[in-house]
Symmetry: C2
Subunit: 328 residues, 2 copies
């Protein structure tokens, strides 16, 4: 079975999906949908249509799963439910607090139009969520910790760029090693925001800008930096381009729990990711779940799902027999 895929939005994530889908023997990229003028968009794949979003309905019967690659702030809240009227859809909606609301909207549209949908695929939400669930189910008596980094936060980098006098900036979120060590020791520490992560900033100033002013604006910025130990380094544009152009990320999900008649036995479950490219890894997760929902659709599943609802075997191109023989 070949899954015919559409990509809706061609930024970093869309390009990552293109790469992952082309690498999968059981998937075929049919079209890339863009808000731009199609002739102005050059994609990496040959023989794949580039189509304006206004013509998406004409692909209704040509695509098994539409992969939405827009942003969670303004794109996905409307795009995913809207496209669920025409297609099986999958997205990487990552505004954790709004997931229940997004789920409800997508579920309604998918059920009305007899489609399957999966929201919030990626690594957090996504692989990290799975690990939180598994670890909680296995060790009900315990405590969860999630650390992010070292990695680039696009939102924090943008916030710095909005400061007067800043030409360019890159912000890394870094887990605090001492906090990680304390969690791994099984001592179940209570950790403040400041104790868990630091923020490391590389800033390029505009000509004549005041570094002291910029540094103070960053360090006192509410929500983004004020609650953290923040380091600001001023560098040249050349150095930023040379050493900070990647989009690495990662993090740790740790559950520390106890078993035994008197909770005398401690256990640590740890899952970690170290990623050179945040969007390409996210795309790889989405691509595996695309395979899963295409299969589940054929089996008759409908409505909105999350990674919690998908049996792991559906993600793999291998058969149940092959999986049992090689990976169990």
């Amino acid at each position: 079975m070949t899954t015919r895929v559409g990509i809706y939005g061609y930024g970093n994530l869309g390009r990552g999906i293109e790469c992952a889908v082309n690498a999968a023997n059981d998937m075929e990229l049919v079209a890339v949908f863009t808000r731009r003028e199609p002739s102005a968009l050059k994609i990496a794949s040959k023989n794949v249509a580039v189509v304006n979003v206004k013509d998406v309905a004409s692909y209704k019967d040509k695509i098994d799963v539409m992969i939405l690659c827009g942003g969670s702030a303004t794109d996905l809240p409307t795009q995913t439910p809207e496209l669920a009227k025409l297609f099986n859809v999958i997205d990487s909606f990552d505004t954790h607090a709004k997931i229940p609301e997004h789920f409800k909207l997508v579920d309604e549209e998918a059920r009305k139009s007899n489609h399957i949908a999966l929201i919030s695929a990626g690594w957090d939400p996504g692989m990290f969520s799975l690990n939180r669930l598994y670890a909680n189910a296995v060790l009900p008596n315990g405590k969860d910790y999630t650390f992010w980094g070292k990695g680039v936060s696009q939102g924090h980098s943008d916030a710095i760029r909005r400061i007067k006098g800043v030409k360019d900036a890159r912000q890394y979120t870094c887990p605090v090693q001492a906090a990680l060590d304390a969690v791994r020791s099984g001592s179940n520490p209570e950790l403040t925001t400041r104790q868990k992560h630091t923020r490391l900033c590389y800033v390029v100033l505009e000509e004549g800008a005041d570094p002291a002013y910029v540094e103070n604006e960053i360090k006192t910025m509410p929500n983004y930096f004020a609650d953290y130990d923040t380091t600001v380094n001023f560098i040249s544009q050349e150095e930023l381009n040379k050493n900070h152009s990647g989009i690495p990320h990662g993090g740790f999900v740790i559950r520390s729990g106890a078993t035994g008649v008197n909770n005398e036995h401690k256990h640590i479950i740890e899952y970690s990711l170290k990623l050179d490219s945040n969007p390409e890894f996210t795309a790889s997760v989405i691509t595996a779940y695309t395979r899963a929902i295409a299969r589940l659709y054929k089996e008759g599943a409908r409505g909105c799902k999350t990674v919690f609802d998908i049996a792991p075997a559906y993600l793999s191109p291998l058969s149940g027999e092959q999986l049992r023989a090689t990976m169990l």
Copy 2:
């Protein structure tokens, strides 16, 4: 919904199950089945029947899931298919090479008698298998590594005890830090058996035994020790009892893979366990999967499953809505 549970076999694993089931609000331990004379067996729970295995059929309608706590070498290959005729069953069958055969036997009996079964729950096979599958599905272009330890290997400890002149022994399997570091660096090393693990032995000699003879017997033992760097420490029975009476274990599943048009981006996915009590953690995994198969049975699922076939949400006592709001 309360899941009524039976425990079949009351060794370390059975006691761990008892503890985990009693800690779960949605489970009730109905009976413990033993090959011993029931009156001779004292269990930790009050008001729970202790029953000889020959009377197990009389519990056919009183138990939703029978948890098999025997060994993989001789107990489970016959017990799991046999009991699948009467009950929904779950086991921790861990002879990796024989899983396909065991699956087939259990599946046949479960289908004939209209039951559900789950085999090979635990951490390896079990949580480690899940992580191998997820990581392979997400990073198809990559390499897998599994390390075990530091932990007690019962099989290797037994092998030492069979040597003439050995009174008692405990063997720890230890991952080699340099190998772990090489894997985490993303260099995808080819590692020999000797490069991945070392074996650390604590041995109590019988009076008058020759330590040089025993040490040589251990270090040259085929399959068990000959392919490893092995350290042998002779200690007193008191010291063994004091410092080596626990059953800790753990390990690491790492996948190192690449994405990008030219595989230019490296990614490391790592899952690790650090367990004070191997049998209690295994029991905790089995208990979560017991909840899952009881639910799946009510939904109409039949036949033999593995952890690969179970959607994660089934493991948790929380509803889908609660899970999406708190863990996604």
